[in-house]
């Protein structure tokens, strides 16, 4: 048994590493994925393109502009003069928002008449739009409260009682403390999720493809006439990719830490242990796909069909909390969800087994069940 197992493992390794191009394909794509994902997946809005349309051109309107510029979140990219310019800027995505100060802005402020500032937001990307809208309204509101205080002081000095009473009004202040990710950088949240994505895709696909390849080019028959047993064949096919998966995990985690300077607060050992738990699931799923596919193309398409929903419903970018109730319950059956929670907990929160044990148990259960079922099916297919 051991001899045969070693034989097939040796064969698999040789096949995977023989070709230099194949060797690179095992380790380079994960790194490229990490790179592209890490830099591209970002929901922060740091530099919104602001078009400033000043119909007033006074001291106060310029103060407001200074408040926008001083926030560091807006880049003034255009000074449109007409409604047609505004339309063009928004249509062609050259501006994320247009702030329009109407004529008479300063006059109204000086006369204590309530006035308004128009903000037109390019809503095509609703996420950017809602962040931009909240930034803009908070800047305008704080500008307003500054003006309000000045007006009150002016009234007091002019002794216009009883419109103003000499008294310090109640003051309310919000103090927020942000945990785990104090700078609110979305990269810190996404990069750990990318690690999950890469491990899953690599192991799922390699296992499925390696077995189906033998079927497609007809070498599976040759393997079957050798004395090797199904279980040995299966182990021999999966173990090398488990190893590749673990090496890729290490590679991607180290690269993520070096490249993106994200925190890692948990235990590295625990990460690897949970990684191994998760590999049972993904290798098992790979085996399963191989039993239902005849050609490599089918295997790929099926892999993708499996991978996409599981990944999208794992809470990677789209919070599970936002999903409809029924789907939220369905995600309890998604092993990727648990691994995602574990990895993020380890990276960002430094959680330990005391917090993460339910996820770990779930992952272990899924792993054992999926791996057993797929091996049974795999054996039946071979017999």
């Amino acid at each position: 048994m051991r001899e045969r197992l070693l034989g097939i493992i040796q064969k698999e390794f040789r096949q995977a590493f023989r070709e230099p191009r194949m060797r690179t394909m095992l380790f380079l794509p994960p790194l490229i994925q990490l790179f592209v994902f890490g830099f591209a997946v970002n929901l922060d809005v740091d530099h919104a393109y602001l078009a400033w349309m000043d119909g007033d051109q006074t001291y106060e309107s310029r103060e407001l502009l200074a408040a926008f510029q001083g926030s560091g979140r807006f880049d003034v990219v255009a000074l449109p003069a007409s409604d047609r310019d505004v339309q063009r800027l928004l249509d062609s995505n050259k501006a994320d928002l247009v702030v329009r100060v109407l004529p008479g802005f300063e006059r109204d402020l000086l006369r204590d008449r309530p006035t308004s500032v128009q903000v037109l937001i390019n809503g095509a990307n609703s996420n950017t739009a809602s962040i931009v809208s909240s930034y803009a309204s908070s800047i305008i509101t704080s500008f307003a409260s500054q003006v309000m205080q000045e007006q009150n002081r002016a009234r007091l000095e002019a002794r216009q009682a009883p419109t103003a009473v000499s008294f310090q009004g109640p003051q309310l202040k919000m103090q927020s403390r942000v945990w785990f990710n104090p700078d609110l950088r979305s990269r810190n949240y996404f990069v750990p999720g990318i690690v999950v994505n890469i491990i899953m895709l690599v192991t799922l696909m390699l296992t499925a493809m390696a077995i189906v390849r033998e079927k497609e080019i007809g070498t599976m028959e040759q393997l079957m006439v050798t004395p090797i047993r199904p279980i040995e064949l299966m182990l021999g096919k999966t173990l090398p990719f488990a190893l590749v998966g673990l090496i890729d995990t290490l590679l991607v985690v180290v690269a993520a830490l070096l490249l993106f300077h994200i925190p890692f607060r948990g235990s590295a050992l625990l990460l690897f242990f949970c990684g191994a738990l998760f590999l049972m699931t993904s290798l098992g799923a790979g085996l399963f796909i191989s039993t239902i596919s005849q050609t490599q193309q089918q295997a790929m398409m099926t892999t993708f069909m499996f991978f996409q929903p599981f990944f999208l419903l794992s809470g990677f970018a789209f919070p599970i909390r936002n999903m409809p109730e029924a789907i939220q319950i369905l995600t309890l059956l998604n092993p990727v969800r648990y691994f995602m929670e574990i990895v993020r907990g380890l990276f960002l929160k430094g959680s330990g087994v005391d917090v993460l044990w339910p996820q770990m148990v779930a992952l272990a259960v899924f792993g054992v069940v999926i791996l057993t079922l797929s091996s049974l099916r795999f054996r039946k297919r071979l017999d």
């Binding site: 309530p114 809503g123 996420n127 409260s145 103003a164 950088r185 949240y189 398409m301 929670e341």
Partner: protein
């Protein structure tokens, strides 16, 4: 180029597609699944943020403040707790994202006209949700503060204060800020990229791997005809996927469609042609399906998904990545899709995008035919 041979190649390829009915089924089901997921389940919109309240003050004032949060549809107060331990534990376990702590002596400070603090503890791991939540919380507190100040003035015999400047915010194109309205159109580009990277990138590699390429070579068919014939077959499949996406998006998920249908159709064909040519180019460059697939994923699907502005806006990316995104055709197509669906604009605004797509399609097609000829010779 002979029309007869081209037809023969196309027919052969179509037979391949139809006969492998599972791949065909998957090619049609995949866009549907993605559409269902994005249209129904996945959204970035933040509301009902799970929140705990820890009221140390227990006064009418503190309860009034908490009621302001209760009244907002963005916060869902799950529980009122009595210790920091409870809030910390809940944040650790991700049961809540936010806890509002009203410190002791809150009402005393408030009534004395001193600065009264409200403390917000936020789980920042999901920074996007966290910053939107903070924005909403800030708005609640600020407007409540203004109201308190005005009330106090009135109580002391003064005039009610008016907010001097009010932001009047109007959102164009997607006024209820639904993320599906921009994600579903963009999905058309992603779906086509998937078809290109998973179907067309394998077709020639498979012929090499199975040894049927030698048979094809012994026939009088020319490389250009082979490329074009294969392309036409997958083109048909891509068009079917596109129609499905548009119909499901517009009629089931009620995504607004404000532009010209024919303009959309024309640009989609252009994009599809380029994307498929790229798949065939890859397929001709490598003789292994696994490698073709890997390369296809890396060069079509991944950039189409991430560097196209489909979900993640390009302006937030580092400058280098932004430069790279200019050579990603999906970027131009996503722009067109958003323009046609949400903004109702046409050639006048989008001409540059159309030109870029045409240039890309032309270059890649010529490249694929050349590569094919080199490999065959």
């Amino acid at each position: 180029m002979s029309l007869r041979r081209l037809k023969a190649v196309t027919k052969k390829e179509l037979l391949h597609i139809v006969r492998d009915y599972r791949s065909l089924w998957l090619a049609i089901a995949l866009p549907l699944v993605m559409l269902l997921l994005f249209g129904y389940a996945l959204t970035l919109d933040v509301d009902r943020i799970p929140t705990y309240v820890y009221d140390q003050d227990h006064t009418p004032e503190s309860r009034d403040l908490i009621n302001q949060f209760r009244g907002s549809r963005y916060f869902q107060i799950l529980e009122a707790v009595n210790s920091y331990r409870a809030t910390d534990r809940a944040i650790d376990k991700s049961t809540i994202l936010l806890s509002i702590v009203v410190p002791k002596y809150y009402s005393r400070h408030l009534l004395a006209g001193e600065e009264a603090d409200v403390q917000l503890l936020v789980d920042g791991s999901d920074s996007n949700t966290a910053s939107i939540a903070l924005g909403y919380a800030d708005a609640v507190v600020q407007s409540y503060a203004a109201q308190l100040r005005s009330d106090a003035q009135v109580r002391r015999g003064g005039q009610a204060l008016q907010v001097p400047v009010e932001p009047r915010i109007r959102v164009w194109y997607n006024s209820d800020l639904k993320s599906k309205n921009f994600i579903v159109p963009g999905l058309i580009a992603v779906t086509m990229m998937i078809i290109a990277s998973m179907l067309s990138s394998l077709t020639i590699a498979r012929e090499w791997e199975n040894g049927t390429m030698e048979q094809l070579l012994s026939t009088p068919v020319r490389p250009g005809e082979l490329v074009l014939g294969k392309l036409i077959a997958y083109f048909a499949l891509g068009i079917v996927d596109m129609l499905i996406s548009i119909i499901v998006g517009v009629f089931i998920f009620q995504v607004p469609f404000r532009g010209d249908v024919w303009f959309l159709f024309f640009t989609s064909c252009l994009f599809l042609f380029g994307a498929l040519s790229w798949g065939i180019f890859l397929s001709a460059s490598t003789r292994s399906q696994l490698m073709a697939f890997q390369l296809g994923m890396l060069s079509s699907f991944l950039p189409g998904y991430l560097l196209s502005g489909f979900i993640y806006s390009i302006t937030n990316m580092p400058k280098v990545i932004q430069l790279i995104s200019y050579v990603v055709p999906a970027r131009y197509f996503v722009n067109i899709l958003n323009g046609v669906f949400l903004k109702g604009v046409g050639t006048r605004v989008l001409w540059l995008e159309v030109v870029m797509l045409a240039v890309y399609a032309g270059l890649v097609f010529v490249g694929a035919s050349r590569k094919m000829r080199l490999k065959v010779a």
